[in-house]
Amino acid sequence: MARTKSRPLSPHLTIWKWGPHMAISILHRITGNGLATVGILGVVWWLLAAATGPEAYARFIACATSPIGYLVMIGISWFFFQHMMSGLRHFVLDLGAGYELNVNKTWSMVIPALSTLATVALWATIFSGKI
């Protein structure tokens, strides 16, 4: 190694003051991994149940429409909207835009609010409809 060990390290997590930009960053990872496990496995279970037969499908519907099932589905839909919108934020950041402190902070706070609104709108549509 050509590097000397005496060079300073960048400051560690523990000395930073928490802000919205950090919360949205770790939320992106949490929601992503939640969707990657619980979310997509639910979709694959649904497809396999539909491919297997009426009994398997009825078992899926019984689980999905139980109180825990609704809780998981509502949670996963919030995870999806949150991950989607914070992913769109990443596209903007990839272009090199949106790094000004106030702009970054604003969007980091607006996005969770928007994803909550989208989740409420989705489930209001579902519960007011025929399902």
Binding site: G32, V44, L48
Partner: protein, 129 residues
């Protein structure tokens, strides 16, 4: 890979148009997910019902079966890339990290295969009688 100087260690690991592949693939699949998962949500909400017959009839349509399959490919590809980064950040032991990424590959390919098989079965059997 050289073991001496910094440049020697870096040489061979540099871009050569390949370095950004993982990063780019994550963006491509993100766009795929954006379109296809939103399409799935809007479709499910606008279906007349989510009972067995309605869902089978819906999936049996080629214009539904194909995007559904593409969605699974895009989602499982995207989650394979994202979870790899998560594992690289948190699982520091090299052997354990290798094992986790091995399991991740099995999960991503196996999960996508299971879902695509289910769609294909419904599509090829035709709508529920």
């Amino acid at each position: 890979m050289g073991s001496g100087t910094g440049i020697g260690r870096v040489r061979g690991l540099g871009s050569a148009k390949h370095g950004a592949h993982h990063w780019l693939a994550q963006r491509y699949t993100a766009v795929g997910n954006l379109l296809l998962v939103l399409w799935l949500i809007f479709s499910l909400v606008s279906l007349p019902g989510l009972d067995y017959e309605s869902v089978r009839n819906w999936i049996a349509n080629p214009l539904v079966a194909v995007p559904l399959m593409l969605m699974l490919v895009s989602v499982f590809y995207h989650l394979r890339l994202g979870m790899q980064i998560m594992l690289e950040d948190y699982v520091h032991d090299k052997g354990l990290n290798f094992f986790c990424i091995l399991l991740l590959n099995f999960y991503a390919i196996g999960g996508a295969a299971a879902g695509i098989f289910a769609i294909a079965k419904i599509a090829f059997m035709g709508a529920a009688s």
